[in-house]
């Protein structure tokens, strides 16, 4: 099968994830969309790994999963902290960095 299909699917998922991150305001959904983007990257890595017949791309994919797990832990931790502090679960409300 041609690698192009894999890359198109990967780009498609990545675009969905990016659109979600930019447009959604619920932090949980933002996290989910981030996962989509990361896994789109994973898909591309694995596809290239198959194409070249090397295992470096698969190792990269594993490392990205670990990092994704860490990121989810921190992200969910922030969301729980927001909930505990009775802050609105809305990332647009957290805009103290405004200049």
């Amino acid at each position: 099968m041609d690698i192009t299909w894999y890359l198109v699917l990967s780009a498609f998922i990545f675009a969905i994830g990016a659109a979600g991150v930019i447009s959604r305001r619920n932090p949980l959904v933002v996290l989910l969309c981030l996962e989509l983007m990361l896994n789109a990257g994973n898909l591309a890595l694995v596809a290239f790994s198959r194409m070249h017949g090397g295992e470096a791309g698969q190792v990269f994919a594993l490392i990205v999963m670990v990092i994704a797990a860490c990121e989810v832990v921190i992200g969910l931790g922030i969301i729980v902290a927001m909930y505990r502090n009775r802050l609105p679960i809305d990332i647009d409300e957290m805009s103290e960095l405004r200049g």
Binding site: A18, V21, I22, S23, R24, R25, V30, I91, D92, M94, S95, E96, L97, R98, G99
Partner: protein
């Protein structure tokens, strides 16, 4: 040990006391800080005696010893040493200062024992005595000015000792500001002298002044007048006297210390120390004499009218210092110093007595509410009466001899000085009158409730309040504690008042005309070069002066007795008849109001203007506001990007990555 070693010890002990108490206030228990402070001053007094004995071993020509610890500042043709001058004058001052201060410390050990700031008090007190001793031992203008400024700082700390009391803090600031006026004048005077004599050492200046300046040279007269301004500020002479009555806000022993031993005597000491300069500039000396005479009359007139017990004594101090300044200015140096010494005895005694009366009244100072303490406090009654006798110049007390020696010298100088002498006699009459006005109003008459309570062995308990405003005060740190101690109940207070009472009676024996001249003989080496050294009134003239002074004193006391004891209503009738005069005197000749209008209000108005217009509008508004405004406008685009929205940042990231990708795609193909 040499006399100068003793001189250094005199300085070392109070300084050590200050350091020990101020560093160890946390660990020193109970009354120990007080006893350490007292012991330090006692040791300084003993060292002064050591210096005295050593000085007496020298021949009369060699009784001016200078010793330098190290060079303080050195330039091409001038150097200032940390040096002390031990001569009869400085040793005499050390003896009076440390001796009387020791007794005041002893009194304070008991008087202040209920106070939250006990250690702080004694650290300040020791520092005060150290500063004063440094001032009198200084061998050049630099050290003199250092001691001079230290005394001012110490007085500020002690006057505003109860720092939560607004009136006390204000009084401390007032004293400090007026003293700084004197400091500045003294510094400028020192510069004028340095400019012309190119030295600041006293002995060199006194030797060189005759060559550098002609008789009544304009520059020297200016320098001497500036020295007088310094002396007037410290010694509370017209027109710089207003701080002294307000200084009553401090604890009563502090008042005693300021009025008797330290501070106010510094001005007299300065004039006497500078006598070689004043003799070359007689115009300045005459100004001093006139101001002293005016002050003694002015202060005596106010003391007749005011009813606050401590303020009466304060104005009597101003008046008595007026005698001393007059004496020192008309070249009656020995007499001026003699009066300084006797005044230290009886004034400290009067303040201690007043302190115990105020203690018995639970803080009330108004004489209108006192009366009949004779039986409640017999010891205070006797000692206070002795102090008043000496103050009023009653025959054979200490004040009798010293005051009349000054007046006799004024008559002896002849010319218009006789007018000063006559005015001084009028002042003496007023002095005797107001001294016994206090005694009769406080101790005689119907006992007030507080006195009755004390007679039955119980100390009146009053609400802690500010005697000036009558406002209630909390009794935490910085306030006189709720427990005031009365002289009768505490040994250290009695032990301090007893010797002073004795000295107030017999202190005059050091200079009885025709009989003894111990003081004059001792001080002679300092004044040997004086032009007036050989001019002294004859014994006969002095005795006649004494007789006149004695008669005037008895008349004054008699009048007080007649007004306040024989016909108790007289005072009220006189007050009604001369209401305007009474108002004028009670308001202290409106000096405070005058200064308020002339200096304080313009300065506060200008300060308010500065705060409102210069600070708020100009600095804050224009400069600071302008600068921030420019930055704000300049960065508005950069700030607009920083929206704070996470997804906008993510979008930028994404666009950036997309742009980079496109770039590489285009360039690689």
């Amino acid at each position: 040990m040499s006399a100068t070693s003793y001189g250094w010890l005199v300085l070392a002990f109070p300084l050590a006391g200050t350091l020990i108490i101020s560093l160890g206030w946390r660990v020193l228990p109970g009354r120990l800080p007080g006893w350490i402070g007292t012991a330090a001053i006692l040791l300084a007094f003993l060292a002064s005696i050591g210096a005295l004995l050593d000085l007496l071993d020298h021949s009369e020509e060699e009784r001016q010893l200078v010793d330098s610890a190290w060079t303080y500042a050195a330039t091409a043709d001038f150097s200032a040493d940390l040096a002390i001058l031990v001569d009869p004058l400085s040793v005499f001052m050390c003896l009076v200062v440390s001796g009387v201060s020791f007794l005041i410390h002893l009194y304070s050990v008991a008087y202040m024992s209920g106070d939250g700031g006990y250690s702080r008090y004694f650290a300040y007190l020791n520092f005060f005595v150290f500063s004063m001793l440094l001032l009198v031992l200084a061998a050049n203008f630099v050290i003199l000015i250092i001691g001079w400024a230290f005394v001012g700082a110490a007085s500020y700390l002690l006057i505003s000792f109860w720092y939560r009391r607004v009136t006390a803090v204000r009084a401390g600031i007032k004293a400090f500001v007026i003293n700084v006026i004197g400091d500045v004048a003294l510094v400028v005077a020192a510069f004028l002298i340095l400019d012309n004599v190119s030295s600041l050492d006293f002995l060199t200046v006194f030797d060189g002044a005759g060559k550098a300046f002609g008789q009544n040279d304009g520059t020297l007269v200016a320098a001497c007048v500036l020295i007088l301004v310094g002396a007037f500020a410290k010694s509370a002479q017209l027109p710089l006297h207003t701080w002294l009555p307000d200084a009553m806000e401090g604890p009563t022993p502090v008042s005693a210390l300021i009025h008797a031993a330290t501070m106010v005597t510094a001005g007299v000491y300065l004039i006497v120390r500078m006598h070689p300069l004043f003799e070359i500039a007689p115009t300045a000396a005459d100004i001093g004499a006139i101001v002293g005479c005016a002050t003694l009359l002015f202060a005596a007139s106010v003391a007749i009218a005011v009813t606050d017990l401590k303020r009466v004594i304060a104005y009597s101090t101003i008046s008595q210092i007026g005698y001393m300044v007059m004496g020192a200015s008309i070249a009656a140096y020995g007499a001026g110093l003699f009066h300084l010494m006797t005044h230290a005895f009886f004034k400290a005694l009067l303040f201690m007595g007043a302190g115990s009366v105020i203690g018995a009244m639970a803080g009330i100072q108004d004489m209108d509410r006192m009366g009949g303490f004779r039986r409640a406090m017999p010891f205070t009654f006797i000692t206070f009466t002795i102090g008043a006798l000496a103050l009023g110049g009653f025959p054979l007390t200490a004040g009798f001899f010293s005051k009349d020696e000054i007046i006799a010298f004024a008559i002896h100088r002849g010319d218009w000085y006789v007018a000063l002498a006559i005015l001084a006699y009028i002042g003496a009459f007023l002095t005797a009158f107001y001294a016994f006005r206090m005694v009769f109003r406080v101790f005689l008459g119907e006992p007030v409730p507080e006195a009755r309570e004390l007679e039955s062995g119980h100390l009146a308990h009053g609400e802690p309040m500010n005697p000036m405003t009558g406002e209630l005060e909390d009794t935490d740190v910085g306030f006189p504690g709720p427990e005031h101690h009365v002289a009768e109940s505490e040994f250290p207070m009695k032990a301090a008042m007893g010797p002073l009472a004795l000295l107030a009676i017999v202190g005059g024996v050091v200079a009885i005309p025709g009989l003894t001249d111990i003081l004059e003989k001792f001080l002679e080496p300092t004044f040997a070069d004086s032009r007036f050294h050989d001019t002294a009134p004859t014994t006969g003239a002095e005795v006649w002066g004494l007789v006149a002074g004695g008669v005037i004193s008895v008349l004054g006391i008699g009048l007080a007795w007649w007004v306040y004891v024989r016909e108790p209503g007289t005072a009220a009738r006189v007050r009604e008849r001369f209401a305007w005069l009474h108002r004028f005197l009670v308001n202290k000749w409106y000096f405070d109001e005058l200064y308020e209008a002339m200096f304080v209000r313009p300065v506060t108005t200008f300060g308010g203007f500065g705060r409102r217009v210069i600070e708020t509008d100009f600095v804050q508004g224009t400069i600071v506001g302008g600068a921030t405004g420019i930055v704000r406008v300049g960065t508005s685009v950069a700030r607009a990007v920083q929206t704070g929205y996470l997804r906008v940042y993510a979008l930028f990231l994404l666009l950036g990555v997309a742009a980079l990708t496109l770039y590489f795609l285009i360039t690689s193909s």
